[in-house]
C-alpha cells in the first residue's frame, strides 16, 4: 500500500517542486542582481517608481468601480427576467471575453473607439470636436470594463441564483415591488458577494499587462508590470526591474491576502449557470429599463468583437495566410500552447492525486501546499517570473534562445489553477468511488490509468487542456520579454505589427488568433457540458 501511495505522492511533490523551482529561480535572479548592483537598486526607489505604483493602484480601483457597478445593475436586470428570449445567448456571450486574448480585445477596442475607429465620427459629433480616441487611462478603463463587467455580472448572477425559490414566492405574496425586493432580497446577497467579486476584479486589474501595454500610453499611464517589461526590453535596467518586481509582488501578495480574508476565490469560474426558478415579477416600466440595460451591456461586449471581425475581414487574409512569418508564428504558437496545455494538465493531475494520497493519511503542511498550489502562481504574475528568469539567465545563456522553454513553463503554471478546477470534481468523485476497489483488486499504476482513470477523467482532462491551450495561445506575457525575430508567437507578431502601424495585418492576425482561441473555448465548453452524470 505504502509503495503505491508513494507514487502519487511523488507526482504531487514533483509538481510542487516544479512550481517552487519556477518561482524560486525567478527570485534567485532578482536577489542576485540586487546584491550585485546595490546602488542601482537603491537608486530605483525614486519618484518614478512611486508614480507608477500609485497609478497601478489608481487604475485598478477605477477599473473595479466601472466594472462592478454596471455589473450589479446588469445582474439584477438579468435576474429579474429569468425567461426572456436570448437570455441564454447573452449569458454565453458574457463568457466569451474569458477566452479572448487580451491583445485581440485591445485591438478590437481601438478599432471601435480609437481615433480612427468605427465610432470616431459619432463620438466626435457628440463631443463637438475631433474624437481623440481612447488611450491612456480611458483606454485602460474601457478595456478592463470590457473584460470584467461580464465576469462580475455572471458572478453576481450566481449569488442571486442562491436565493431560494420560496423567498421569491414569499416576496410576490407580500406584494414587494422592485424597490423592496432589491432592498430586502437582492442587495443582501449581492452585498455578501461584493467584497469577493470586487477583490477578484481588482486583482485582475493590478496584474493586467497586455491591455495596459497596448492601450496605456507613455509614462503617464504605465503600471508596474508594463514598467518591468520596459525596463528589461528597452532601457535595459535590471536593477530597476528588480525593484519594480518586488513592489509588484508585495502589492499582489497584500491584495491576495485581503482577498482570502474576504473569502473570495481568486480563480474565476469558467462555467455559467442559466437556471433560475424565479417568478417573473417586473412591471412594464421596469421591464423597459431592464431591457435597455441588458441591450446596452450586450452591445458593449459584442461591439469590439464585431469590430475585430469586420476589420479582420478587410485585411488581405489570403496573403496573410500564406505569409511565411505568419505561418511560422502560428506553428510556434500552436506547438508551444499544446506543450504548455499538456504540462498544465499534468501539473494539475499530479497536485490533485498527491493531495488525495495525503488525505488518506494525515493532514499536513504539504497537503495544504498542494491544495493551495494555485495560490502560488497568482501572487507571482507571469511577467514577474519571466523577468526574474530573464535577469538570472542573461549572464549565462542567450535569453532569446530559451524563449520556448520559458513560455511553456510559465504559461503552464498560469493555466494550472484553471485546469485543476476543471478536473477536480470528477477526479475526487472517481477517487472516492474507486480507491478501495482498486486497492482490493490490485489495480495500480499504468493499469489503473488505462482502465479506470483515463476513461473516467478523459472529458474533464480534455476540457482543461482545451481551456489551458486557449489561455496559453493568446498570452502575451513571457513572450513579450523573451520573444525575438527567431521565436515569435501570434500575439507577439500581432504586437509587432501594431507597433509598426501595419494595422490591416494586425486586424487579420487578431481575427485568426481570436477565432482559434474561441474555437478552443467552445470545445472546452462542449466537452465540459456533455459529462455524463
Amino acid at each position: 500500500m505504502a509503495m503505491r501511495l508513494d507514487l502519487r505522492l511523488l507526482a504531487g511533490l514533483a509538481a510542487l517542486g516544479f512550481l517552487a523551482a519556477l518561482v524560486g529561480g525567478a527570485f534567485t535572479g532578482m536577489l542576485y542582481e540586487g546584491a550585485d548592483d546595490r546602488s542601482g537598486v537603491l537608486g530605483a526607489f525614486d519618484a518614478y517608481l512611486w508614480r507608477i505604483a500609485r497609478f497601478t493602484l489608481w487604475q485598478a480601483a477605477l477599473s473595479t468601480l466601472v466594472s462592478v457597478v454596471p455589473a450589479i445593475a446588469l445582474a439584477r436586470a438579468l435576474s429579474r427576467h429569468p425567461a426572456f428570449p436570448g437570455r441564454a445567448i447573452i449569458l454565453r456571450l458574457f463568457a466569451l471575453p474569458l477566452g479572448l486574448p487580451a491583445i485581440v480585445a485591445a485591438l478590437g477596442l481601438l478599432e471601435l473607439y480609437g481615433r480612427a475607429g468605427y465610432l470616431a465620427a459619432p463620438l466626435g459629433w457628440i463631443r463637438g470636436d475631433a474624437w481623440p480616441g481612447i488611450y491612456g487611462l480611458s483606454g485602460i478603463l474601457v478595456a478592463h470594463a470590457f473584460f470584467n463587467i461580464p465576469l462580475a455580472t455572471r458572478l453576481f448572477l450566481e449569488s442571486l441564483d442562491t436565493v431560494g425559490n420560496d423567498q421569491w414566492r414569499l416576496a410576490s405574496q407580500l406584494g414587494m415591488g422592485a424597490g423592496s425586493s432589491f432592498r430586502f432580497i437582492e442587495w443582501p446577497v449581492m452585498r455578501a458577494a461584493l467584497p469577493g467579486i470586487a477583490g477578484l476584479v481588482f486583482m485582475l486589474c493590478i496584474t493586467s499587462f497586455t491591455l495596459v501595454l497596448t492601450l496605456g500610453g507613455g509614462p503617464r499611464a504605465t503600471t508596474l508590470e508594463v514598467a518591468i517589461y520596459q525596463s528589461l526590453r528597452f532601457d535595459f535596467d535590471p536593477a530597476r526591474a528588480v525593484v519594480l518586481t518586488i513592489v509588484q509582488v508585495a502589492l499582489t501578495a497584500l491584495v491576495l491576502a485581503m482577498l482570502s480574508r474576504l473569502g473570495a476565490s481568486a480563480v474565476g469560474e469558467a462555467n455559467l449557470t442559466v437556471s433560475s426558478g424565479r417568478p417573473h415579477t417586473a412591471g412594464f416600466g421596469e421591464a423597459v429599463l431592464n431591457g435597455g440595460l441588458i441591450a446596452a451591456g450586450a452591445a458593449f461586449v459584442v461591439a469590439p468583437l464585431a469590430a475585430t471581425l469586420a476589420s479582420g475581414l478587410q485585411a488581405d487574409l489570403p496573403r496573410l495566410a500564406t505569409e511565411s512569418g505568419v505561418l511560422r508564428a502560428a506553428a510556434t504558437s500552436l506547438a508551444l500552447a499544446s506543450l504548455s496545455a499538456g504540462l498544465a494538465v499534468m501539473l494539475a493531475l499530479a497536485l490533485l492525486s498527491g493531495r488525495r494520497a495525503f488525505e488518506a493519511g494525515r493532514p499536513s503542511l504539504l497537503a495544504a501546499a498542494m491544495e493551495a498550489g494555485a495560490g502560488f502562481v497568482l501572487v507571482v504574475p507571469p511577467i514577474v517570473i519571466g523577468a526574474g528568469w530573464f535577469i538570472l539567465l542573461r549572464h549565462s545563456v542567450d535569453v532569446f534562445a530559451v524563449a520556448p522553454v520559458m513560455v511553456v513553463a510559465v504559461n503552464a503554471a498560469m493555466a494550472m489553477p484553471f485546469a485543476m478546477r476543471a478536473i477536480r470534481p470528477a477526479h475526487d468523485a472517481s477517487a472516492t468511488r474507486h480507491d478501495r476497489l482498486c486497492a482490493s483488486l490490485g489495480i495500480a499504476g499504468r493499469a489503473r490509468l488505462r482502465l479506470v482513470d483515463w476513461p473516467v477523467l478523459r472529458r474533464p482532462i480534455l476540457t482543461a487542456a482545451a481551456f489551458a491551450m486557449a489561455l496559453s495561445l493568446g498570452d502575451l506575457g513571457v513572450i513579450a520579454l523573451f520573444g525575438s525575430d527567431a521565436v515569435q508567437t501570434l500575439p507577439y507578431l500581432l504586437l509587432q505589427r501594431m507597433g509598426s502601424y501595419r494595422t490591416a495585418d494586425a486586424a487579420g492576425i487578431a481575427l485568426l488568433l481570436g477565432l482559434l482561441c474561441l474555437a478552443l473555448m467552445l470545445i472546452a465548453d462542449r466537452l465540459g457540458k456533455e459529462m455524463p452524470a
Binding site: M1, R436, L437, S440, G442, I443, L451
Partner: protein, 238 residues
C-alpha cells in the same frame, strides 16, 4: 496446532480513531459463514477493513490461514471484499468488471475468459457479460461482484452489508446464493448485517461488536437462545 488455523485470526488488533480506540481479539472459523452484528459506529466496518487491509492496525497481528498478513496490501491478501455499493466500474461492462478479478491489467487468457463465463453462469448472469452496470438491477450488480469474487478464488470473502439496499425477497435469494457458493468453494465468509434474520438464515457463527470490542462470539443458534449473550439480546430488542 492452533484450531481454526485456516480461518481468520485477529490478535489484539487495535486501531485508534480520535476519541475511540478499537481493539479486536477474534477467531473466525474457516469454511463457514460468520455474521457480524452490532450497533452503528461500533466498529464492524473497521473490523472488515483491518482484515481486508484497507487499514493497518496500530498494534497486534492479523493472520489468515495461519499466515501473518498484517503488513500486506489489500490485493496481496487471500481476501475478496464486496461493499454495499460501488463494487463495479461504471464505464466497464460486466465481463470486464469480473475479468479484473483475474488480471488487474485486464490481460485475459482463454482460460480466464472461460472462468469468467463460468462465474457469470453460476451467479445467474449468463449472457449479460456485455451489459454496463447501469443496465443492471441492484441485485444483479451484486451478483457481478460475487462472480468477480469467484474468479479471484480467494479463501476469505468479506461482505459489508452487501444486500442492505435490496428488498426482503431478493435479499433472501442473494443470501442463499452466498451460502451455496460458500459450500461449493469452502469459503470463509464474514458478513456484516443489520438484520437478525440474515444471520439466522445464512450464518453458522456470529460475532457481536460493541464499542470497538468483540462483545460476544459463538454459534448462531446459541445467540438466539433465551440464554444468549445479554448485550446481543438487548441490541435486537429481546
Amino acid at each position: 496446532m492452533r484450531t481454526n488455523a485456516r480461518g481468520v485470526v485477529l490478535e489484539n488488533a487495535t486501531f485508534a480513531y480520535p476519541g475511540m480506540t478499537l481493539a479486536f481479539e477474534a477467531r473466525i472459523a474457516a469454511g463457514a459463514v460468520t455474521a457480524v452484528m452490532g450497533p452503528s459506529g461500533s466498529g464492524k466496518s473497521t473490523l472488515l477493513d483491518l482484515v481486508a487491509g484497507f487499514r493497518r492496525p496500530d498494534s497486534g497481528r492479523i493472520l489468515i490461514a495461519g499466515r501473518d498478513v498484517t503488513g500486506l496490501p489489500p490485493d496481496r491478501r487471500p481476501v475478496s471484499m464486496i461493499f454495499q455499493e460501488n463494487n463495479l466500474f461504471a464505464h466497464l461492462d460486466v465481463a470486464a468488471n469480473v475479468g479484473l478479478g483475474r488480471s488487474p491489467g485486464l490481460r485475459l487468457s482463454s482460460d480466464d475468459r472461460a472462468a469468467i463465463d463460468a462465474a457469470l453462469a453460476r451467479t445467474g448472469l449468463a449472457g449479460k457479460g456485455g451489459r454496463l452496470p447501469r443496465e443492471l438491477s441492484g441485485g444483479e450488480r451484486q451478483r457481478v461482484a460475487l462472480a468477480r469474487a469467484l474468479v479471484r478464488d480467494r479463501p476469505v470473502l468479506l461482505m459489508d452489508e452487501p444486500f442492505a439496499s435490496l428488498g426482503p425477497a431478493l435479499r433472501e435469494e442473494m443470501l442463499d446464493l452466498v451460502c451455496e457458493l460458500q459450500a461449493e468453494q469452502n469459503l470463509c465468509v464474514l458478513l456484516v448485517t443489520h438484520h437478525p434474520e440474515d444471520a439466522r438464515r445464512a450464518a453458522s457463527h456470529m460475532l457481536f461488536v460493541e464499542s470497538g470490542r468483540i462483545a460476544a462470539a459463538g454459534a448462531t443458534d446459541d445467540f438466539f437462545r433465551a440464554d444468549g449473550p445479554v448485550a446481543f439480546r438487548r441490541y435486537i430488542g429481546l
